[in-house]
């Protein structure tokens, strides 16, 4: 025993010493603990939360799936898209056509939505090869207006301008998640959907995580960091740019199908056109807030940005200076305006001060404890 030996209770910090450690799906015991917590929350949620909260979380799940997809495209491959909502629309309408009209089961129409979404995404992908930066952003922006026109015109599927009912079945085998019974207890629609949707989020996250830690994932990141250099070392730009568009669109399409069956109604004017553009912007905001290039970030960003407006709206009468959502002239600013201003400021603040998002904040906190006692 030399003088330098540390007291035995001061264990050396956890460090990754092998490359395999870096690649592991769940890197540390801390992560495992976190996962256990999430699992508990997942199963307990419908028992303790009211329909209002479950509904908020269900929308968050939809946006989480879409955001994970966009993060693969933007965060990992570096291609920006303001047309994400259109692919959501594609998924929603696949669910209408096959789930509602042809009454296919969930396990059939959801994958179909993903496949069709991927195909449509692959058609858009080649533009990313020809156009760069600003020009690509504006072309994807044009996509939401092209999409609106096509959705409007394709009345037999979309119901045209008037929208259509989208209550596709939510049944797997003989568990109907729209009215789920567990241990003889009948759950509300929102409760059943909560379990189904968050299971889909889990699945989506695992798929995405596996993708980015494998060879294609590294190729995508090479394209993001410097596409010409990547091409020189043998990464096919065509393959990975188009592939990234296809995969992210597949995720968006699944999110769209979920959105439709959750809301039971969609219209072209919400998933495309000007509203669609703002929806696409919301996806970008989610991954900025959550953290570009992280899977976890898309989920946390979706929860925060979905819950915030609904919380502000619901508690508007208790926030000072805010006019209650139901009207009245007692405040300076309306709940809707306040919400949009915070939303705008969040985007600006994160990009200016913490461009790696909440996930980076989390990583810093985690690193502090992980490297303890050497946290400096």
């Amino acid at each position: 025993m030399g003088v330098l030996s540390l007291p035995s209770r001061r264990r050396a910090p956890l460090m990754n010493v092998r490359y395999q450690d870096e690649l592991r799906l769940f890197p540390s015991p801390l992560a495992k603990f976190g996962i256990a917590l999430v699992a508990v929350a997942f199963f307990a949620g419908p028992y303790v939360l009211s329909d209002f909260w479950l509904n908020v979380l269900n929308y968050a799940a939809v946006f989480a799936v879409g955001a994970i997809g966009l993060n693969l495209l933007t965060g990992y491959t570096g291609q920006v898209s303001l047309g994400h909502s259109v692919f959501m629309g594609v998924g929603a309408y696949v669910a209408v056509q096959f789930g509602v009209k042809n009454t296919w089961p969930l396990l059939l129409y959801l994958p179909t939505a993903a496949v069709v979404g991927a195909l449509v995404g692959a058609v858009v992908g080649p533009f990313a090869l020809r156009l760069r930066g600003d020009y690509l952003v504006i072309v994807t922006l044009g996509l939401v207006f092209l999409g609106e026109y096509i959705f409007d015109q394709w009345e037999s599927v979309t119901g045209g301008n008037g929208g259509t009912s989208t209550a596709a079945p939510l049944k797997i085998w003989h568990f109907d998640f729209a009215s789920l019974t567990v241990f003889g207890k009948l759950f509300t629609r929102d409760a059943g959907i909560f379990w189904l949707f968050w299971a889909i989020v889990l699945l989506a996250a695992l798929l995405a995580k596996n993708l980015v830690r494998s060879r294609p994932g590294r190729a995508m990141q090479a394209v993001r960091d410097r596409d010409l250099a990547a091409e020189v070392i043998g990464v096919s730009l065509f393959r990975y740019k188009v592939g990234a568009f296809a995969i992210s669109s597949a995720f968006a399409a699944v999110a769209g199908a979920m959105y439709g069956s959750l809301q039971q109604y969609v219209s072209p004017s919400e998933l495309s056109g000007a509203a669609g553009l703002f929806l696409s912007i919301q996806f970008v905001a989610i991954i900025i807030l959550g953290g570009l290039g992280t899977i976890f970030g898309g989920i946390i960003g979706a929860i925060v940005l979905q819950a915030m407006p609904k919380l502000i709206n619901r508690y508007s009468d208790k926030i000072p200076f805010v006019t209650a959502a139901g009207g009245g002239n007692d405040g300076i600013i309306s709940a809707a305006s306040l919400n949009n201003i915070i939303y705008g400021l969040l985007i600006v603040a994160f990009l200016v001060f913490e461009s790696r998002g909440l996930a980076a904040v989390w990583l810093r906190v985690k690193a502090y404890f992980k490297t303890w006692p050497f946290s400096y």
Partner: protein, 433 residues
Amino acid sequence: MKPKRLLQLLCLLLVLSMVAAACGDDDDSTSSSGGTTETTASSGGAAKELKPGPGFDGTTIKLGVLTPLTGTVAIIGKPLTAGNKAYFDSINAKGGIAGKYKVELDIQDTKYDPPTTVQLYNGMKNNVVMFAQILGTQPIKAVLPQLKSDKIVAQPATLDADWVHEQNLLPVAGPYQIQAINGLAYWWNEGGGKGKTVCAMAQDDAYGTAGLDGVNYAADKLGFKIAATPKFKVSDQDFTSQINQLKSAKCDAVFLVGTAANLSGIITAAIQNNLQTQWIGQSPSWLGVFAQTPLKDYLAKNFWLAAEGTTWDDTSVPGMVEMVKVHDQFAKDIPVGDIYFPFGYFAAEAVGQVLEKAVAMGDLSRDGIIKAMNSIDKLTFGGLTGDYKYGEPADREPPRTTTIYKVDPARPGGLAIVKQGYESDIAEGYKFQ
């Protein structure tokens, strides 16, 4: 624990919960904690004390209102909601429904956006007896499937004819189709339009289609051809091409299915291109302020409005006298002559009548409201709008009267009556699906 094993555990848990679900599949028992379903309070016969249920705590009746308070359609949503509120304030001042149950409104801003409407609906549905207003054809279409599965009734603040036979909706007043039929029939028969050229101009959506249904029906029955039917989008700024189409078709009358959001642009283009024609507008196309803009001379000469009821100073209509009294007491900030305030007021009257009936039948549950609606013979409004025959959904019959207004900048609200409560003989034959 290795990650793989953790995954296996998660899967196992998932499978277990599913099996558990399967075991209890056929069981119908319900409970009220967390996200589990609530049983609705329903009592069989006419009990003295009403059972509390969703939105009713035994003394106060809570009603939901989903309406645009911001955005372009807020110009309609705000006065209409003020009409709702003024009516219930006046009822509460008299003690409430049946003299003892106060009414409270939970008003939320939909921004006229269907998904927002659905989300607000979900947050509200377990805390209200029914919805005293959901504004807009699209928002109604968006929540209708859920209204049906939740067995909740809503008053639609839109005049689409699709609502007439819906079990879960409580529509009032003559549908858009009837307004179009009566408006054109009046011009044709009484306004010297017989044999002249008729055109239509419509919004490119469900509302536009509803109005055009009526125009087509009128064309068929009165025996004219529609010379041109230009369409436009709500977001359009420039209407030159549509006006040119109307001009080259030499239209003597144009039936306009649009909203106040586009009227200014359309009329400006008409003036610019010197289109002299008789415009007949569907009720949502008007706003009192137009009578104070530079458009007023053209409008006074060329514009009619096919709408409901009567003007505010018409003392021959008892319902209007009553409404003006309530307005002066409870809603002074709404300008006299507004055309959406009366709609909100008589729509709330309809809700009030259903609630009275439900209380009389001793059941304010969701089933109770539906039963009450189905057993009401007819809803009356003291002449503010025509009587509406109720009863079972299939038996319901909307009023078939329309009031024709012209623009008169000197009057409050900018409208003067051309013909009140006009019911053309062809309107009688129109069938609602």
